[in-house]
Protein backbone atom coordinates (compact mmCIF):
# COMPACT_ATOMS: atom_id res chain seq x y z
CA UNK A 1 0.00 0.00 0.00
CA UNK A 2 1.09 3.58 -0.64
CA UNK A 3 1.15 5.73 2.45
CA UNK A 4 2.55 9.09 3.42
CA UNK A 5 3.47 10.15 6.91
CA UNK A 6 5.36 12.99 8.48
CA UNK A 7 8.28 11.91 10.63
CA UNK A 8 10.16 14.57 12.60
CA UNK A 9 8.79 17.22 10.26
CA UNK A 10 9.86 15.41 7.09
CA UNK A 11 7.31 13.90 4.70
CA UNK A 12 7.90 10.24 3.79
CA UNK A 13 6.05 8.47 0.98
CA UNK A 14 6.34 4.74 1.44
CA UNK A 15 5.17 1.58 -0.28
CA UNK A 16 4.58 -0.93 2.52
CA UNK A 17 2.81 -4.22 3.09
CA UNK A 18 -0.02 -3.90 5.63
CA UNK A 19 1.91 -6.21 7.99
CA UNK A 20 4.81 -3.75 8.25
CA UNK A 21 4.81 -2.43 11.83
CA UNK A 22 5.45 1.25 12.38
CA UNK A 23 8.71 0.31 14.13
CA UNK A 24 9.98 -1.60 11.09
CA UNK A 25 8.87 1.13 8.70
CA UNK A 26 10.78 3.72 10.71
CA UNK A 27 13.91 1.59 10.90
CA UNK A 28 13.94 -0.11 7.51
CA UNK A 29 12.09 2.28 5.22
CA UNK A 30 12.86 5.66 6.77
CA UNK A 31 16.36 4.69 7.91
CA UNK A 32 15.66 5.99 11.42
CA UNK A 33 17.29 3.31 13.55
CA UNK A 34 17.12 5.28 16.79
CA UNK A 35 13.84 3.50 17.54
CA UNK A 36 14.79 0.15 19.02
CA UNK A 37 12.94 -3.15 19.06
CA UNK A 38 13.20 -5.37 22.10
CA UNK A 39 10.25 -7.65 22.67
CA UNK A 40 7.73 -6.82 19.91
CA UNK A 41 5.10 -7.63 22.57
CA UNK A 42 4.38 -4.17 23.95
CA UNK A 43 6.21 -4.95 27.17
CA UNK A 44 9.68 -3.38 27.04
CA UNK A 45 8.89 0.03 25.58
CA UNK A 46 12.17 0.33 23.64
CA UNK A 47 10.10 1.06 20.52
CA UNK A 48 8.11 3.93 22.07
CA UNK A 49 7.55 6.86 19.66
CA UNK A 50 4.99 9.65 19.50
CA UNK A 51 2.10 9.43 17.07
CA UNK A 52 0.10 12.66 16.93
CA UNK A 53 1.79 13.70 20.19
CA UNK A 54 0.98 10.66 22.30
CA UNK A 55 3.54 8.04 23.27
CA UNK A 56 2.74 4.63 21.75
CA UNK A 57 4.38 1.28 21.15
CA UNK A 58 5.51 1.32 17.52
CA UNK A 59 5.74 -2.49 17.55
CA UNK A 60 1.98 -2.68 18.16
CA UNK A 61 0.88 -0.39 15.33
CA UNK A 62 0.97 -0.97 11.61
CA UNK A 63 2.61 1.65 9.41
CA UNK A 64 -0.55 1.80 7.27
CA UNK A 65 -2.40 3.06 10.35
CA UNK A 66 -0.15 6.13 10.34
CA UNK A 67 -1.06 7.19 6.81
CA UNK A 68 -1.56 10.95 7.03
CA UNK A 69 -0.38 11.11 10.63
CA UNK A 70 2.56 12.73 12.39
CA UNK A 71 5.29 10.69 14.04
CA UNK A 72 8.13 11.85 16.23
CA UNK A 73 11.11 9.67 17.03
CA UNK A 74 14.23 10.16 19.12
CA UNK A 75 15.95 11.63 16.05
CA UNK A 76 13.43 14.48 16.22
CA UNK A 77 14.12 15.47 19.82
CA UNK A 78 17.18 17.71 19.44
CA UNK A 79 16.87 21.17 17.85
CA UNK A 80 17.73 21.43 14.14
CA UNK A 81 21.09 23.00 15.11
CA UNK A 82 21.91 19.94 17.19
CA UNK A 83 21.20 21.45 20.62
CA UNK A 84 20.07 18.51 22.75
CA UNK A 85 16.53 18.40 24.11
CA UNK A 86 16.44 19.12 27.88
CA UNK A 87 15.67 15.45 28.49
CA UNK A 88 18.76 14.41 26.56
CA UNK A 89 20.96 16.78 28.59
CA UNK A 90 19.35 15.61 31.81
CA UNK A 91 19.85 11.92 30.95
CA UNK A 92 23.55 12.66 30.39
CA UNK A 93 23.87 14.67 33.57
CA UNK A 94 22.17 12.05 35.72
CA UNK A 95 23.88 9.03 34.12
CA UNK A 96 20.46 7.71 33.19
CA UNK A 97 21.86 5.32 30.61
CA UNK A 98 24.50 2.66 30.34
CA UNK A 99 24.09 0.53 27.21
CA UNK A 100 21.51 3.00 25.87
CA UNK A 101 19.22 0.38 24.37
CA UNK A 102 16.18 1.53 26.32
CA UNK A 103 17.01 5.24 26.14
CA UNK A 104 15.12 6.28 22.98
CA UNK A 105 11.96 4.71 24.37
CA UNK A 106 12.30 6.40 27.75
CA UNK A 107 13.03 9.75 26.10
CA UNK A 108 9.96 9.59 23.89
CA UNK A 109 7.79 8.40 26.78
CA UNK A 110 8.97 11.20 29.04
CA UNK A 111 8.90 13.88 26.33
CA UNK A 112 5.24 13.17 25.57
CA UNK A 113 4.34 13.20 29.27
CA UNK A 114 6.19 16.47 29.95
CA UNK A 115 4.65 18.15 26.90
CA UNK A 116 1.24 17.15 28.10
CA UNK A 117 1.67 18.07 31.76
CA UNK A 118 5.04 19.18 33.20
CA UNK A 119 3.52 18.93 36.69
CA UNK A 120 3.74 15.14 36.45
CA UNK A 121 7.21 15.32 38.02
CA UNK A 122 5.78 16.98 41.15
CA UNK A 123 3.78 13.88 41.93
CA UNK A 124 6.01 10.89 42.78
CA UNK A 125 3.18 8.41 42.22
CA UNK A 126 2.32 9.68 38.77
CA UNK A 127 5.97 9.80 37.74
CA UNK A 128 6.49 6.27 38.98
CA UNK A 129 3.39 5.06 37.14
CA UNK A 130 4.72 6.65 33.96
CA UNK A 131 8.16 5.11 34.30
CA UNK A 132 6.80 1.61 34.92
CA UNK A 133 5.84 1.74 31.23
CA UNK A 134 9.32 0.86 30.01
CA UNK A 135 12.08 -1.56 30.99
CA UNK A 136 15.75 -0.76 31.55
CA UNK A 137 18.04 -3.67 32.36
CA UNK A 138 21.14 -1.61 33.15
CA UNK A 139 20.89 1.57 35.16
CA UNK A 140 18.09 0.95 37.55
CA UNK A 141 15.24 3.39 37.41
CA UNK A 142 16.34 5.90 40.01
CA UNK A 143 18.69 7.78 37.70
CA UNK A 144 16.03 7.84 35.01
CA UNK A 145 13.54 9.25 37.48
CA UNK A 146 16.02 11.93 38.54
CA UNK A 147 16.73 12.80 34.92
CA UNK A 148 13.07 13.34 34.12
CA UNK A 149 12.68 15.54 37.19
CA UNK A 150 15.75 17.53 36.24
CA UNK A 151 14.50 18.01 32.69
CA UNK A 152 11.21 19.38 33.97
CA UNK A 153 13.10 22.13 35.79
CA UNK A 154 15.22 23.07 32.77
CA UNK A 155 14.31 25.80 30.27
CA UNK A 156 11.71 24.70 27.70
CA UNK A 157 12.48 22.37 24.81
CA UNK A 158 14.15 23.91 21.78
CA UNK A 159 11.13 23.64 19.46
Amino acid sequence: MRISLTVNGEKFRLEVEPRRTLADALREDCGLTGTHLGCEHGVCGACTVQVDDSAVRSCLMFAVQCDGHTVRTVEGLAAPDGTPHPLQSAFTAEHALQCGFCTPGFLMLAAAALDEDPAITDDPDRLRELLTSNLCRCTGYESIRRAVRRAADMPGPPD
Partner: protein, 299 residues
Protein backbone atom coordinates in the same frame (compact mmCIF):
# COMPACT_ATOMS: atom_id res chain seq x y z
CA UNK B 1 8.64 -12.27 14.98
CA UNK B 2 6.71 -10.46 12.29
CA UNK B 3 3.01 -10.89 11.44
CA UNK B 4 1.91 -13.12 8.56
CA UNK B 5 0.54 -11.27 5.51
CA UNK B 6 -3.05 -10.01 5.57
CA UNK B 7 -5.37 -7.70 3.68
CA UNK B 8 -6.21 -4.41 5.28
CA UNK B 9 -9.28 -2.19 5.14
CA UNK B 10 -9.87 1.00 7.11
CA UNK B 11 -13.45 2.09 6.43
CA UNK B 12 -14.66 5.48 7.58
CA UNK B 13 -18.28 4.75 8.50
CA UNK B 14 -20.18 2.24 10.60
CA UNK B 15 -22.02 0.96 7.55
CA UNK B 16 -18.77 0.35 5.66
CA UNK B 17 -17.28 -1.44 8.68
CA UNK B 18 -20.24 -3.82 8.85
CA UNK B 19 -20.07 -4.43 5.10
CA UNK B 20 -16.32 -5.04 5.26
CA UNK B 21 -16.81 -7.55 8.10
CA UNK B 22 -19.46 -9.38 6.08
CA UNK B 23 -17.22 -10.01 3.04
CA UNK B 24 -15.30 -12.99 4.44
CA UNK B 25 -16.35 -13.18 8.09
CA UNK B 26 -14.31 -16.22 9.05
CA UNK B 27 -10.77 -14.99 8.43
CA UNK B 28 -11.52 -11.37 9.31
CA UNK B 29 -10.74 -9.60 12.59
CA UNK B 30 -11.56 -6.15 13.86
CA UNK B 31 -8.49 -4.03 14.63
CA UNK B 32 -9.24 -1.63 17.51
CA UNK B 33 -6.35 -0.55 19.78
CA UNK B 34 -4.21 -3.43 18.56
CA UNK B 35 -2.66 -3.82 22.01
CA UNK B 36 -3.59 -7.50 22.17
CA UNK B 37 -4.23 -8.37 18.53
CA UNK B 38 -0.99 -7.00 17.06
CA UNK B 39 1.09 -8.68 19.70
CA UNK B 40 -0.64 -11.99 18.97
CA UNK B 41 0.03 -11.42 15.29
CA UNK B 42 3.69 -10.65 16.03
CA UNK B 43 3.83 -13.99 17.81
CA UNK B 44 1.85 -15.57 14.96
CA UNK B 45 -0.56 -16.88 17.55
CA UNK B 46 -3.14 -15.03 15.43
CA UNK B 47 -3.06 -15.12 11.63
CA UNK B 48 -6.12 -13.29 10.34
CA UNK B 49 -6.47 -13.07 6.54
CA UNK B 50 -8.00 -9.65 6.78
CA UNK B 51 -8.13 -6.80 9.26
CA UNK B 52 -10.89 -4.25 9.39
CA UNK B 53 -9.36 -1.27 11.16
CA UNK B 54 -12.10 0.74 12.90
CA UNK B 55 -9.84 3.63 13.98
CA UNK B 56 -11.05 5.92 11.18
CA UNK B 57 -14.72 5.84 12.14
CA UNK B 58 -15.36 9.28 13.62
CA UNK B 59 -18.27 8.62 15.96
CA UNK B 60 -16.98 5.35 17.42
CA UNK B 61 -15.32 7.31 20.23
CA UNK B 62 -18.73 8.27 21.66
CA UNK B 63 -18.92 8.27 25.43
CA UNK B 64 -22.28 9.39 26.75
CA UNK B 65 -24.20 9.46 29.98
CA UNK B 66 -27.81 8.60 29.35
CA UNK B 67 -29.85 9.67 32.37
CA UNK B 68 -33.13 9.81 30.50
CA UNK B 69 -34.08 6.21 31.18
CA UNK B 70 -36.31 5.45 34.15
CA UNK B 71 -34.09 2.70 35.56
CA UNK B 72 -31.31 5.01 36.75
CA UNK B 73 -29.54 5.53 33.46
CA UNK B 74 -26.49 4.25 31.65
CA UNK B 75 -23.00 5.16 30.62
CA UNK B 76 -22.67 4.28 26.94
CA UNK B 77 -19.20 3.49 25.66
CA UNK B 78 -18.38 3.31 21.93
CA UNK B 79 -15.88 1.03 20.22
CA UNK B 80 -13.01 3.53 20.10
CA UNK B 81 -13.06 4.81 23.66
CA UNK B 82 -9.52 4.15 24.91
CA UNK B 83 -8.59 2.94 28.40
CA UNK B 84 -7.04 6.33 28.96
CA UNK B 85 -10.36 8.15 28.74
CA UNK B 86 -11.38 6.60 32.06
CA UNK B 87 -8.29 7.63 34.06
CA UNK B 88 -10.21 10.73 35.16
CA UNK B 89 -13.85 10.18 36.17
CA UNK B 90 -16.09 10.31 33.07
CA UNK B 91 -19.15 11.08 35.19
CA UNK B 92 -19.48 12.58 38.65
CA UNK B 93 -21.09 9.62 40.42
CA UNK B 94 -19.69 6.40 41.92
CA UNK B 95 -19.45 4.73 38.49
CA UNK B 96 -17.03 7.39 37.21
CA UNK B 97 -14.87 6.91 40.29
CA UNK B 98 -14.88 3.12 39.97
CA UNK B 99 -13.91 3.24 36.29
CA UNK B 100 -11.06 5.65 37.08
CA UNK B 101 -9.73 3.41 39.87
CA UNK B 102 -9.89 0.43 37.58
CA UNK B 103 -8.25 2.06 34.54
CA UNK B 104 -4.99 2.57 36.42
CA UNK B 105 -4.55 -1.18 36.82
CA UNK B 106 -4.50 -1.73 33.07
CA UNK B 107 -0.99 -2.00 31.64
CA UNK B 108 0.68 1.43 31.48
CA UNK B 109 0.15 4.82 29.83
CA UNK B 110 1.28 4.05 26.23
CA UNK B 111 -0.85 0.89 26.09
CA UNK B 112 -3.75 2.76 27.69
CA UNK B 113 -3.61 5.49 25.09
CA UNK B 114 -4.29 2.95 22.28
CA UNK B 115 -6.17 0.04 23.84
CA UNK B 116 -9.96 0.26 24.02
CA UNK B 117 -12.52 -0.82 26.62
CA UNK B 118 -14.55 -2.72 24.02
CA UNK B 119 -11.38 -4.34 22.64
CA UNK B 120 -10.69 -5.68 26.14
CA UNK B 121 -14.17 -7.14 26.33
CA UNK B 122 -13.76 -8.76 22.90
CA UNK B 123 -10.33 -10.09 23.84
CA UNK B 124 -11.86 -11.61 27.00
CA UNK B 125 -8.75 -12.19 29.05
CA UNK B 126 -9.86 -14.17 32.13
CA UNK B 127 -8.57 -11.43 34.46
CA UNK B 128 -8.99 -8.40 32.22
CA UNK B 129 -10.16 -5.46 34.31
CA UNK B 130 -12.97 -4.30 32.02
CA UNK B 131 -14.49 -7.78 31.58
CA UNK B 132 -14.44 -8.15 35.38
CA UNK B 133 -16.19 -4.84 35.87
CA UNK B 134 -18.69 -5.54 33.08
CA UNK B 135 -19.73 -8.80 34.77
CA UNK B 136 -19.79 -7.26 38.23
CA UNK B 137 -21.99 -4.34 37.23
CA UNK B 138 -24.16 -6.21 34.75
CA UNK B 139 -23.12 -4.23 31.67
CA UNK B 140 -25.12 -4.72 28.49
CA UNK B 141 -23.31 -5.14 25.20
CA UNK B 142 -24.58 -4.20 21.78
CA UNK B 143 -23.35 -6.39 18.91
CA UNK B 144 -23.87 -5.26 15.33
CA UNK B 145 -23.56 -6.99 11.98
CA UNK B 146 -24.79 -6.42 8.46
CA UNK B 147 -27.89 -8.40 9.53
CA UNK B 148 -28.81 -6.14 12.45
CA UNK B 149 -28.02 -5.70 16.13
CA UNK B 150 -28.52 -7.76 19.28
CA UNK B 151 -27.91 -7.04 22.95
CA UNK B 152 -26.35 -9.41 25.48
CA UNK B 153 -25.49 -9.01 29.13
CA UNK B 154 -21.80 -9.31 29.97
CA UNK B 155 -22.18 -12.73 31.60
CA UNK B 156 -23.71 -14.21 28.46
CA UNK B 157 -21.11 -12.49 26.29
CA UNK B 158 -18.01 -13.75 28.13
CA UNK B 159 -18.23 -17.50 27.78
CA UNK B 160 -14.68 -18.59 28.58
CA UNK B 161 -11.04 -17.57 28.53
CA UNK B 162 -10.50 -15.54 25.35
CA UNK B 163 -13.92 -16.70 24.18
CA UNK B 164 -16.99 -14.54 23.62
CA UNK B 165 -20.39 -14.83 22.04
CA UNK B 166 -19.26 -12.64 19.10
CA UNK B 167 -20.06 -14.34 15.81
CA UNK B 168 -17.89 -14.01 12.73
CA UNK B 169 -18.76 -10.74 11.04
CA UNK B 170 -20.01 -9.10 14.24
CA UNK B 171 -18.78 -5.86 15.73
CA UNK B 172 -19.00 -5.09 19.43
CA UNK B 173 -20.46 -1.65 19.06
CA UNK B 174 -21.33 -0.38 22.49
CA UNK B 175 -21.09 -1.27 26.17
CA UNK B 176 -23.67 0.14 28.58
CA UNK B 177 -22.76 0.34 32.24
CA UNK B 178 -25.60 1.06 34.68
CA UNK B 179 -25.05 4.25 36.67
CA UNK B 180 -24.71 3.60 40.39
CA UNK B 181 -26.87 5.24 43.00
CA UNK B 182 -25.16 8.07 44.93
CA UNK B 183 -25.01 6.08 48.17
CA UNK B 184 -22.69 3.53 46.58
CA UNK B 185 -19.10 2.93 47.61
CA UNK B 186 -16.85 1.08 45.16
CA UNK B 187 -13.54 -0.72 45.05
CA UNK B 188 -11.36 -2.66 42.64
CA UNK B 189 -8.50 -4.65 44.15
CA UNK B 190 -6.13 -7.14 42.65
CA UNK B 191 -3.12 -9.36 43.01
CA UNK B 192 -0.51 -9.14 40.28
CA UNK B 193 3.21 -9.66 39.95
CA UNK B 194 4.25 -6.69 37.82
CA UNK B 195 2.71 -3.64 36.21
CA UNK B 196 3.15 -5.23 32.77
CA UNK B 197 1.49 -8.55 33.55
CA UNK B 198 -2.19 -9.37 33.87
CA UNK B 199 -3.62 -9.83 37.36
CA UNK B 200 -3.75 -13.29 38.92
CA UNK B 201 -6.93 -12.46 40.78
CA UNK B 202 -9.12 -9.48 41.26
CA UNK B 203 -12.28 -8.43 43.05
CA UNK B 204 -14.63 -5.58 42.21
CA UNK B 205 -17.53 -4.32 44.21
CA UNK B 206 -20.25 -1.68 44.34
CA UNK B 207 -21.84 -1.49 47.76
CA UNK B 208 -24.90 0.66 48.49
CA UNK B 209 -25.71 1.36 52.10
CA UNK B 210 -28.72 3.32 53.34
CA UNK B 211 -29.49 3.94 57.02
CA UNK B 212 -26.65 1.61 57.94
CA UNK B 213 -28.07 -1.33 55.99
CA UNK B 214 -26.82 -2.79 52.69
CA UNK B 215 -29.56 -2.13 50.17
CA UNK B 216 -27.73 -3.33 47.07
CA UNK B 217 -24.37 -4.91 46.36
CA UNK B 218 -22.43 -6.28 43.43
CA UNK B 219 -19.37 -8.42 43.99
CA UNK B 220 -17.41 -9.76 41.04
CA UNK B 221 -14.26 -11.86 40.99
CA UNK B 222 -11.71 -12.82 38.35
CA UNK B 223 -9.00 -15.46 38.40
CA UNK B 224 -11.07 -17.98 40.32
CA UNK B 225 -12.98 -19.39 37.36
CA UNK B 226 -12.37 -19.57 33.59
CA UNK B 227 -14.01 -16.14 33.19
CA UNK B 228 -14.99 -13.34 35.59
CA UNK B 229 -17.94 -14.31 37.78
CA UNK B 230 -20.40 -12.64 40.09
CA UNK B 231 -20.43 -13.91 43.66
CA UNK B 232 -24.22 -13.94 44.02
CA UNK B 233 -24.31 -16.04 47.18
CA UNK B 234 -22.05 -13.55 48.89
CA UNK B 235 -24.20 -10.66 47.66
CA UNK B 236 -27.26 -12.33 49.20
CA UNK B 237 -25.46 -12.61 52.53
CA UNK B 238 -24.91 -8.87 52.59
CA UNK B 239 -28.24 -7.42 51.53
CA UNK B 240 -30.45 -6.34 54.43
CA UNK B 241 -27.61 -6.46 56.95
CA UNK B 242 -25.23 -3.82 58.28
CA UNK B 243 -21.80 -4.02 56.57
CA UNK B 244 -19.88 -4.83 59.74
CA UNK B 245 -16.48 -6.52 59.73
CA UNK B 246 -17.97 -9.87 60.61
CA UNK B 247 -20.72 -9.71 58.00
CA UNK B 248 -18.12 -8.76 55.38
CA UNK B 249 -15.80 -11.59 56.46
CA UNK B 250 -18.67 -14.06 56.21
CA UNK B 251 -19.59 -12.84 52.73
CA UNK B 252 -15.98 -13.04 51.57
CA UNK B 253 -15.71 -16.66 52.69
CA UNK B 254 -18.90 -17.48 50.85
CA UNK B 255 -17.58 -15.71 47.74
CA UNK B 256 -14.47 -17.87 47.61
CA UNK B 257 -16.30 -21.08 48.54
CA UNK B 258 -18.76 -20.79 45.69
CA UNK B 259 -15.89 -20.96 43.28
CA UNK B 260 -15.29 -23.70 40.75
CA UNK B 261 -11.76 -25.09 40.85
CA UNK B 262 -9.62 -22.04 40.20
CA UNK B 263 -7.32 -22.52 37.20
CA UNK B 264 -3.77 -23.09 38.52
CA UNK B 265 -0.80 -21.36 36.96
CA UNK B 266 2.93 -21.49 37.68
CA UNK B 267 2.69 -18.53 40.03
CA UNK B 268 -0.39 -19.45 42.00
CA UNK B 269 -1.88 -22.88 42.57
CA UNK B 270 -5.58 -23.53 43.12
CA UNK B 271 -5.45 -23.66 46.92
CA UNK B 272 -3.55 -20.40 47.06
CA UNK B 273 -6.04 -18.80 44.71
CA UNK B 274 -8.98 -19.88 46.79
CA UNK B 275 -7.36 -18.42 49.88
CA UNK B 276 -6.38 -15.21 48.09
CA UNK B 277 -9.93 -14.88 46.75
CA UNK B 278 -11.28 -14.62 50.31
CA UNK B 279 -8.72 -11.99 51.18
CA UNK B 280 -9.42 -9.93 48.05
CA UNK B 281 -13.20 -10.12 48.42
CA UNK B 282 -12.89 -8.91 52.00
CA UNK B 283 -10.48 -6.15 51.04
CA UNK B 284 -12.78 -4.95 48.29
CA UNK B 285 -15.83 -4.81 50.56
CA UNK B 286 -13.96 -3.03 53.34
CA UNK B 287 -12.60 -0.49 50.87
CA UNK B 288 -16.04 0.10 49.40
CA UNK B 289 -17.47 0.68 52.86
CA UNK B 290 -14.71 3.18 53.57
CA UNK B 291 -15.38 4.81 50.20
CA UNK B 292 -18.95 5.48 51.28
CA UNK B 293 -17.86 7.26 54.42
CA UNK B 294 -15.31 9.32 52.48
CA UNK B 295 -17.28 10.15 49.37
CA UNK B 296 -20.92 10.01 50.36
CA UNK B 297 -20.98 11.01 54.02
CA UNK B 298 -22.28 8.26 56.15
CA UNK B 299 -25.99 8.57 56.98
Amino acid sequence: MKPAPFDYAAPATRQEVLEALAVAPDGTRVLAGGQSLVLEMNQRAARPHRLVDINNVADFDRLEVDRAEQDGGWLRVGALVRHRAFEQPVESGPLGRLLARTAHFIAHPPVRSRGTLLGSLAYAHPTGEWPTLAVTLGAELVLASADGTRTLDAESFLIGPFTTALRPGELLEEARFPLLRPTTGTAFVELRRTAASFAHLSAATALSVEDGIVVDVRLGMAGIAPQPVRARDAEHRLVGRPPTDSVIAEAATVAAAGVTDPPPDPHSGSAYRRHAATVLAERALVKARQDISEEVERP
